[in-house]
Structure formats: C-alpha cells, structure tokens
C-alpha cells in the first residue's frame, strides 16, 4: 500500500472533500467555458438594453437582468473569471515567496531567521483591508492594485507555515546525512526540505483560494472594481444592493456564486488536510 493510495482512500471516503473537489472543478469549468455555456455572452461587454432592465428571473434570463438590462446569470459565470484571476495572481507570487523565505529562515537560522521572522511578524500585524485601502488611495483604486496590496501581505502566512515545518525537518538526520554526502544549501532547501513542505503548502494554498475570492469580492464591493463593463462578483452585488429588497435577484446570483466558490475551496482544503494528514 503506497502512501499516495492511502491518502486517496481517505480522500475518496470523505464526502465533504469530494463535494468540495466537484465544486472547485465546476467553477473552473464554468470559468473556462463561460462563452459556451452562457445564453448571452455579449452581455459581458457594453451592451445596454433598457427595455429589459430589472427583469425578474424568467426562462430567457434565468437569474433576471440588472439595471442595464444585462443577463445576470451570464455575468455571474463570467465573474468567476475575475475571481480566479485574482486567486492566481495573488497566490502565484505570495506562495513561492513565502515558501522560500520560510525555508531560508528555518534552515539557515541565525540572522536570516531573526530578520525574516521579525519582518514577517511586522507584516502580519498590518490589517490587509487597511493596506488595500491605503494602496488603493495612493495608486488608483482598482482591483488589481488592491490585490497587489494583498499579495504584499499574503506571503507572510506561507513564510510562517513553511518556517515551522522547516525547523522540524531541518533537525532530522537525513538533512545532516545529505550535507555529509556533499549536498549544498540549494539542494537541501529545494530537494530535501521542500518536498516535505508540499503537503502543508497545498492545503494552505487551497484554503487561501477561498479567502482571496472572498476578499476580492469584499474589495470590489467597497469600490475597488475592475474596469466596467467587465463583470466581477463583488461589484455586481454592490450594484444590485441599491435595488434591494424589490429586485432581490440582482444580488442573489453573484452573492451565491461567491458563497459557492468559497465553500468549494474550503471543503477541498479540509479534505486535502485529512488526506495529507498535516496541520496547516
């Protein structure tokens, strides 16, 4: 019985994890094939159809239309694209940066450890929302700038996590054995220690994806939008909010979409945690 097979066994018998995986998969598929599965792909652009504005859900517009008469279902599905881009943008930078800094701090110790962990602690003390608002005010209040702000802070969580794992792994005999066999620090960091961190990193990254989606929606709800008319979930909720409670369908679909994607990534992350049997 290999470890991979035992992990898969635990994962496949965990209904929550399977549901999470299916949700995440469905979000990815919907985002990728949005033009094919949505009824009005042109509504993503600057289409205005005032005769049909604020239309309630019907067989043509499954989730109704917004104040410009655009199909909400279509725009929600396309909204996943912005959310996933944000997830990708934030994590593709902050995860590797955090992992490398964490490993360096944990393995080299001494001043490297003091500086990196000290700096990490300072950055952790900054509330991301405040940081995003500050950067948004200095630069332009766009979602890209806000996410840039999140990226600036986000690596710290990975640095901490990987640091902790590295400290425990670095004391193992196999690290000393590799050193005695002539391995250099680059080999030890990336070939010996990193593979032992992959499990925690992937669990944390999956859980992060949920948080970034939620955070991105929060920021765009607060006005850090993408350039209109590109649909994104947070600003769709912000737009529809003005017409509550009569035009309830305008916030329902984008709101549910945020919930759906966040839930999916969280369930998947918990499932991976059980599968890898790690603390993250």
């Amino acid at each position: 019985m290999t470890a991979a097979w035992m992990g898969w066994y635990r994962f496949s018998r965990n209904p929550a994890a399977i549901i999470g995986a299916l949700i995440v998969l469905s979000v990815l598929v919907m985002a990728a094939f949005a033009p094919l599965i949505t009824p009005f792909p042109e509504h993503v652009g600057s289409v205005v159809d005032f005769r049909n504005r604020h239309a309630p859900p019907s067989s043509t517009n499954w989730m109704g239309t917004d104040k410009a008469g655009r199909d909400i279902f279509t725009r929600t599905i396309f909204g996943f694209r912005v959310s996933l881009m944000l997830v990708f943008g934030v994590l593709v930078i902050s995860v590797p940066v955090g992992a490398v800094l964490g490993m360096c701090a944990g393995y080299f110790g001494g001043w490297a450890e003091k500086i990196i962990t000290g700096f990490t602690n300072v950055m952790l003390a900054m509330p991301p929302l405040v940081m995003a608002l500050a950067i948004g005010n200095v630069l332009e209040p766009t979602l890209v700038n806000a996410m840039f702000a999140i990226t600036l802070l986000w690596w710290t969580w990975h640095a901490r996590l990987v640091y902790r794992v590295t400290v425990s792994v670095a004391g193992e005999d196999f690290i000393e054995a590799a050193r005695l066999a002539g391995a250099g620090p680059v080999h030890i960091l990336f070939r010996e220690i990193l593979p032992n961190c992959i499990a925690v990193i992937s669990v944390k990254t999956t859980l992060d994806a949920a948080f970034v989606i939620l955070f991105g929606a929060t920021l765009s709800f607060l006005g850090f939008g993408v350039k209109p008319p590109t649909p994104d979930l947070g600003s769709m909720v912000a737009d529809g909010r003005q017409f509550l409670p009569e035009k309830w369908w305008e916030v329902l679909a984008p709101g549910f979409a945020v919930f759906y994607a966040t839930l999916g990534f969280n369930l998947l992350g918990d499932g991976l945690r059980d599968m890898f049997d790690v603390e993250a």
């Binding site: 019985m1 290999t2 470890a3 097979w5 035992m6 066994y9 193992e172 005999d173 196999f174 000393e176 054995a177 590799a178 005695l180 066999a181 002539g182 391995a183 080999h187 070939r191 010996e192 593979p195 032992n196 992959i198």
Partner: protein
C-alpha cells in the same frame, strides 16, 4: 485451573478497505503465580494479544473467534462496564515508555490519584482524598521509591527515567491486581536501569503472589523473568514450553534463529575480532567539549559534556565506544566526524579522502526511519553523494552496484522509504554512506532500532563490507553484548570520561572499573553459564555508579544530554 485462559483467539484488523488477520488461533494460559513470557518481533501480534486481554483493542480490530477467560469469567461476554471494573483489579498493564506516559502539567501524585479515584468510583467504593493518598504512598514504597512523599509531589520532569518507570509500575499495582501484564518494561531505559526494573518486577511478583505476562522481544529479559515461554511469529504461537526446555532445546526453527541471533557475552560462541596493527587513522588527544549556554543572559560556565578523551583508532579496526545515555559518546562521535569543534585538545586525522570523496568519514544513524528523507526515492538519496564521486554517466551503474553490495535488489532504486522494512532502510543508509567513498564510517547505534534477527544480518553485512572495502568503523552503542563480538577494541564511557579501554576480551575478562562491571552484569544473557561468568557488583559500587534507586529526587533526566 489457570488464572488466564486464552483459547483459539483469531483477531483481524480492517483498514483501507482490506482485512488482515493478525492473530491466528492463539491459545495459551497463565496459571496463578506463574510468570509467562510472550516473545516476538515487531508485528508478531504480541501487543495485540495484550490489548485483547485488557479490552483496549482499537476500533478497527475485530475478534473473529476464540475466548479469553479470566478466573473462569468469559471476558468477551462481559458488558463494557464489567470489563472496565476488571481493569486494575483483575489485571493491569505496566506501560512501556516511562518518558511519554505522563502528562507534564500534572504532578505525579495527581496521575496516581486520578486513577485511584475513578477506579474506586467504578467499584462503588467511597474513599476520602487522605485515605487514597495513604494507599498511594504505600504503593510507591512498594516499588522502592523510598521518599514516597517527595515523589508524590514531584513533577514528571523531575524524575529520572528509572523512577518514572517505577511510578508506572506503582500505577499498575494501585488496586492490587492478580495479574500484571508488562509490555516491554524498561526497553526505553539504560541497561543498568532496565536490570533494576526487572529485579523489582520479579520481587513484586514473588512477594504479592501475582501472575505475570511479560511481553518482550529481548530473550535475555525472558530468561530472568519467566517460568514459561511463548514464542510468537506473524500472529501464530510457534512454540511454547517451560523456560529451560525452550531455551536449552528449542524445537521450532524460528526460535532457534532467534536464539542464534543474540550475540553471546561469554563462552565458545563469542567472536574475537582481530586487532589492527596499522597506524592510526584518527587520534584524539586530551579532547574536551563544553556546551556553552547561549542566549541573552549568559550565566556561569556551560555544561561539560566530555573531558580528557584519548583515543587512537587504527586503520581497519572496529572501535567501540560504549556508554549509557548522557555519557557523552555521541558528542565524541560528532567531534570525530568534524561536526563539532572540541573546546580543548586535538583531533588528528591521518588519512586522505579517496579520490573524488569530499570527506574521510561518513555516518550511519541509529534510526533509519529518520535518516532517509521520506519524500525521496532510494535512487534520489543515493544520487546525492554520487554527484561528487562519480561521473554522470557512471552513476546508474554505481547505484546498482551499491544496492548489490548491501544485498538489496536493484529494483529497490525506485522505492520510497515507507515501502521498505527497518532492516532494508538501514541497508540503504549504509549504501548511502558507502557511496561517498569513506575510509571511516561512524556507526551510531546502527542496530538498536531493529529486531534481533534483522540486527544480526546487518552486523554480518557490516563485517563483510569492512573486509572487502578496507573500511575502519567506530561504533557507538550501549549494547555491550553486540560490541563484545563486533569490536576489535572498546572504550567504556561514564559521565563524559573514558573509564576503561582495551580489547573486548580483556575488558570482559578482567574488568578494572566497577562501572564496567555493573554494566556487564546488567546485560540480560541467554544461559546460566554466561550468567555465572558475569562479574559481580557490590551494593556499594551499585549505589556509587548506577542511577539512584529512587531514594531522592534527582536532577531532570534530560539535563545530561
């Protein structure tokens, strides 16, 4: 009628969609005041047997058939509550690991009182705190913890390993059980402490007229503590009989192999390794190591780990460094490797690394489970040293050659450590050390994590490799019976100093230092003949050089590390 009667026990475990039978038709009995030993190696099912008796089998275990009767009472027909009541009063278990069996945030007395309080309540006895304490202090005195009151008030970390093991025994005795089940007692402790613990258990069994079920893999321990022996393998009892009969004339091939795998201490079976007359490869002169205290507030001087070490290791010899935990043997080994700088003294190396090799020496660690990276295949592990010693084109061939050298199939190159057994992992670790082309290999307790039968094959392999590759070994170990047969010269360390040095034959025949005598006399041996040849230790010497027997609360056990 026997006190404990196990009949046709079949137990299986299920997990990951599979079911595996771990006990096959196990039947045996333990009479009143009888001492029975259950011998087996890792995975033989001996602990499962104990758990079945105690009623602490894990949830994925199922009893397929069979019965266990205690004093005529069929245990499997009792309700949960009734079985709970039996724990501690009918039988109790002496746990194996004294170091991790206590919750560090509770005092010793609290641990004991909790057990007593709940056991009393289960039996419907009303007891006052004061009366319970009196009973607990009585029990502590029974396990030779003379200053019971201080032990009662002590925190777990304040007691040495031996004292904690005594408290665990007291815990088992609290409710005057009729049978003790001892699961490898003292294995985690030094040999001298283990010896004391075994004497104590024997005395308690005699004095109180208890029955004993001793679970162990150490045949020497069995000889000391059993009247009857059960040998278990892969969940089957392959042999059982009175101690003398099984030990003198083992019937089953497995029993015979087990006995043969135990290195003898005295007698005709002992091997004398030839002494090397070559020039020294490594010379330590007046070496001292002080671990200084680090941190913001440096106070006083540090901890003196080793002092005045003078060792000459000749080319081609097997030099043994023996000592108990905290004796400083690991510190010496690390200084020999160049991993630590001595505070004082000189370490001279007279040898040049082989062509392509980066260092003169390599190390084989005690625990192959932690010395191989779990996320890297055997090939990836071996590739690290080979990157320096071989040209890229030759590496694959060299890997296959190395695996053949350590008697592993070439197909193992693509395996991960968790797919290998302990002995196989240790062979891979040896192959990794060889790959770096060392002249000197430091063996840090290379077999102590392995089963006896595996131990022997690894030792034989090491001897062969030394012969064919012209290596020099330094082995550090606490296992003197192994060192007697494996080393060409040994040094005995006590509290950071070498107290005795010479060929094993000399040291074992003419022990000069009382500590060495105490160490040798504590080793569990297989035959009466060997027992008779062991040096004797006076009570005075025992008190001077061995761990305190519990008269006082000593410094934290970890302080000497």
């Amino acid at each position: 009628m026997a006190l404990l009667d196990v009949k046709g026990l079949n137990i299986s475990f299920s997990g990951y969609g599979q079911t595996r039978q771990v006990l096959h038709d196990v039947s045996f009995s333990v009479g009143k005041s009888e001492r029975v030993a259950l011998i087996g190696e890792t995975g033989s099912g001996k602990s499962v047997t104990a758990k079945a008796i105690l009623g602490t089998l894990p949830g994925n275990a199922s009893v397929d058939s069979g019965a266990i009767a205690f004093d005529g009472l069929d245990l499997f027909r009792q309700s949960m509550a009734e079985r709970e009541k039996l724990k501690g009063t009918a039988f109790s278990i002496i746990m194996q690991d004294p170091l991790s069996s206590f919750n560090p945030v509770f005092r010793i007395g609290q641990h004991l009182d909790d057990v007593m309080y709940h056991a009393d309540r289960r039996r419907g006895v009303v007891s006052s705190a004061r009366e319970r304490k009196a009973r607990i202090l009585d029990t502590l005195r029974k396990v030779q913890l003379a200053d019971a009151q201080r032990v009662y008030d002590a925190w777990p970390f304040e007691l040495s390993g031996g004292m904690r093991q005594r408290v665990l025994i007291a815990l088992a005795l609290l409710h005057r059980p009729r049978m003790l089940i001892a699961d490898e007692p003292g294995t985690a402790l030094d040999v001298t402490t283990q010896d004391e613990i075994l004497r104590l258990i024997n005395r308690l069994v005699d004095d109180e007229g208890l029955s004993l079920l001793m679970i162990t893999h150490n045949l020497g321990v069995v000889r000391q503590t059993a009247d009857r022996v059960l040998v278990m393998r892969h969940g089957v009892i392959v042999e059982q009989g009175p101690l003398a009969q099984v030990f003198d004339a083992p019937q089953d091939q497995y029993t015979r192999d087990l006995m043969a795998a135990v290195p003898p201490l005295y007698g005709p079976g002992v091997t004398d390794q030839p002494v090397s007359d070559m020039p020294p490869i490594l010379t330590l002169t007046g070496v001292q190591k002080v671990y200084s205290k680090r941190g913001l507030f440096k106070t006083g001087e540090g901890h003196l780990a080793v002092d005045d070490i003078n060792i000459k290791v000749a080319h081609g010899e097997i030099f043994g460094l023996a000592g108990e935990s905290g004796s400083g043997k690991t510190t010496v080994a690390r200084m020999m490797m160049g991993l630590l700088e001595p505070t004082k003294g000189k370490i001279a190396v007279n040898g040049t690394p082989a062509t392509g090799a980066r260092r003169l020496s390599q190390i084989v660690y005690q625990n192959p489970g932690t010395s191989l990276n779990p996320k890297r295949t055997v090939a990836q592990t071996l590739a690290v040293p080979l990157a320096h010693t071989e040209a890229a084109a030759d590496r694959q061939a060299r890997m296959e050659e190395l695996l053949t050298l350590v008697r592993l199939p070439v197909s193992f190159l693509s395996k991960y450590p968790h797919e290998l057994s302990g002995g196989q992992k240790q062979r891979v670790a040896i192959a990794r050390a060889l790959a770096a082309k060392p002249r000197l290999i430091i063996l840090d307790e290379p077999t102590s994590a392995l089963d006896v039968s595996v131990q022997k094959t690894v030792i034989d392999l090491l001897l062969e490799l030394r012969e064919s590759l012209g290596l020099t070994y330094v082995i550090i170990s606490h296992d003197l019976s192994l060192m007697r047969n494996f080393c060409s010269r040994i040094a005995i360390m006590l509290k950071g100093r070498i107290v005795e040095q010479g060929t094993p034959a000399e040291v074992f025949a003419e022990t000069r230092h009382p500590y060495t005598r105490a160490l040798i006399s504590a080793i569990p041996v297989l035959t009466e003949a060997e027992q008779a040849q062991k040096p004797t230790v006076t009570e005075e010497e025992r008190a001077k050089f061995l761990v305190p027997t519990g008269a006082e609360v000593s410094a934290p056990a970890g302080a000497a590390e």
